[in-house]
């Protein structure tokens, strides 16, 4: 009897998970269905599960639309995401290593000063940050979109925790060989710390590509729009062209889905580190 119960429980669980998984995929299905359909297929009162005629031409129409600079916004997003990721990795890993390994009287105070900013999330301080960036004259510039976001306390914290647990023997050997902190860091520590770089890097990249509030505030000219701001402009436009909007959304998600599927291992590791530790 018990065996039957266990079996039934297992079957029920698998069925429930499958149903939920299908439900979770519905939004992706809608993205593809609407993105490749004609306007009539989308707005038809009769639901069509797949467009009568698959219109790849929607992609060309999107990039040819002069009212929304979509290609430019994709390029901006790519530049911002790459620059933010590289910059954050460099600055935060150096800081994390210094805090973990270089003895200094005031190291604790500095660390608490960095940690304290976690209490006040960046989103809440967008008004003061806007004030600062606008007085630097950085509104609607890539600088203004990138530089203020290069210093997330969580990244520094994750690196510090990682380096605290890093095997000291490697560094001791390097010091015996006469390498100073700087060369020890680049020649010994960085090559052996790839997992943490991959984890933090993918999380920062996803965050930079998907962020909206800061680009909305700073990217006031069309020339400085990111892909998220461009997408948002579709939903608030006077005339909404659904097929164009959905193909744009699909194009904006595609690179991220690829990054996500290729780097999932690292993202999971990064989530576990930044979420809990």
């Amino acid at each position: 009897m018990d065996d039957a119960l266990v079996w039934a429980g297992r079957a029920l669980r698998t069925a429930l998970l499958t149903a939920l998984a299908l439900l979770f995929l519905v939004p992706f299905y809608l993205l593809v269905r609407n993105g490749l359909a004609g306007e009539e297929d989308i707005t038809s009162p009769e639901w069509t599960f797949f467009p009568h005629e698959v219109r790849w031409g929607n992609v060309g129409e999107l990039f040819g639309d002069p009212s929304v600079p979509f290609a430019r916004s994709l390029l901006n997003s790519a530049l911002i995401a790459v620059a933010t990721t590289l910059g954050t990795l460099l600055l935060a890993s150096l800081a994390g290593y210094g805090l973990a390994r270089i003895p200094y009287r005031h190291a604790n105070k500095v660390f608490h000063g960095i940690l304290g900013t976690l209490l006040v999330p960046a989103a809440v301080t967008f008004v003061p940050s806007f004030v600062l960036v606008s007085s630097l004259g950085w509104v609607s510039t890539l600088r203004g979109l990138i530089v203020p976001t290069l210093f997330p306390a969580f990244a520094c914290f994750v690196f510090r925790q990682y380096f605290l647990g890093f095997p000291r023997e490697l560094e001791d050997a390097a010091q015996v060989d006469g390498l100073g902190y700087w060369r020890t860091y680049w020649l010994v520590v960085v090559p052996n710390a790839r997992p943490v770089f991959a984890a933090v890097g993918t999380i920062v990249f996803l965050g930079a590509w998907n962020s909206f509030l800061w680009p909305l505030v700073i990217g006031q000219d069309q020339s400085a729009w990111t892909v998220q701001v461009a997408l948002s402009s579709f939903t608030t436009a006077q005339v909404v062209r659904l097929h164009e909007l959905f193909v744009a959304a699909a194009v904006s998600v595609l690179p991220l889905l690829l990054v996500f599927l290729c780097f999932q291992r690292w993202i999971v590791a990064g989530v576990e580190r930044s979420g809990i530790d």
Binding site: A21, A107, P121, V124, L213
Partner: protein, 300 residues
């Protein structure tokens, strides 16, 4: 020697600490200063108004309504996401086949932005016209189309706002719970089995949940802090060519329109930002105290 070390410390830590100070502490302090001035369209005001902006913002019905919206939103999103993502983790953790597949599918929405998700929800899934998917399904059962987002009465927009965030975040928290579950010592379950505890509710209540205490504390804190910062989905779901409706404005939407909308009342906006920053700092510290340290998990 000590001097050399201090120098190297600052070579490593200096750039990050300096940037953080410049782009976090300076704006905060500046904002505190601005909040005592009448600052319309200017960041270097001259007219000192004392606590005027604070009394104005706290008396502003829209600001108070924003805080109420946040409280209501938190009351929905925190328990729903918590229970749902924990259930997902428990099921995925015990499933034998296709575990990696299920984990990926539930985590996949994390690759989408709030903007994209809001767009799918607003324009297709919960579109208020007949061809929206939810209304289509309603139609199959003979129901009339529902205006999901365009009316505060009945407030169907809550369903839309909560489900979009649930879809985006559930996988993320599931990953956290899965990591917590992996850290539980299997010996505990074996001991429970020896003692005759049947797998299921008893084991969940007396072993799994207590062992997940630290993870739970972290998850709840993240959920509350993230709910407090809600902006993207509200903005993209509710605003249209005519602007943002007067209802369903969480605090950041209020700030956005006060400080950066017409009139650019940066003094009032700064006072609002300071109040919100204080609230969130108090919530974070208070919750960390109340739920205990989030450091250890599963006794490790």
């Amino acid at each position: 020697m000590r001097g050399r070390r201090a120098l190297w410390f600052w070579v490593f830590v200096g750039p990050f600490a300096l940037g953080l100070a410049l782009f976090t502490y300076v704006p905060l302090l500046w904002s505190v200063a601005l909040s005592f001035f009448d600052a319309h369209n200017t960041v270097t005001p001259t007219h000192f108004v004392g606590l005027g902006n604070y009394t104005a913002v706290l008396r502003d019905d829209a600001f108070v309504a924003g805080l109420k919206t946040f409280v209501l939103f938190t009351a929905f999103i925190v328990p729903v996401t918590y229970v749902f993502s924990l259930s997902l983790a428990l099921m995925v953790n015990r499933v034998r086949r296709a575990r990696a597949f299920f984990r990926s599918v539930f985590f996949l929405p994390a690759a989408c932005s709030y903007v994209v998700a809001a767009l799918i929800w607003k324009m297709s899934l919960f579109n208020g016209v007949r061809f929206g998917l939810a209304n289509t399904v309603l139609g199959w059962f003979g129901g009339a189309p529902v205006a999901w987002l365009s009316t505060p009465d009945p407030p169907w927009y809550w369903l839309v706002v909560v489900t979009v965030r649930l879809w985006l975040q559930a996988g993320f928290y599931m990953i956290l719970f899965l990591a917590g579950l992996q850290r539980i010592d299997p010996v505990l379950y074996e001991a429970a089995a020896v003692d005759g505890a049947r797998p299921g509710w008893t084991v969940l209540r007396h072993i799994t949940l207590p062992q997940l205490r630290a993870t739970s504390a972290a998850v709840v804190l993240l959920l509350v802090v993230n709910a407090f910062q809600a902006f993207d989905e509200f903005y993209n779901l509710l605003s249209d060519a005519r602007g943002y409706p007067p209802y369903a404005r969480p605090p950041l939407v209020y700030l956005y329109y006060t400080a950066l909308g017409q009139g650019q009342n940066l003094g009032l906006g700064s006072a609002g930002a300071v109040v919100l920053a204080l609230v969130i700092a108090v919530v974070t510290v208070g919750q960390a105290r109340w739920l205990g340290p989030g450091r250890t998990d599963a006794g490790g």
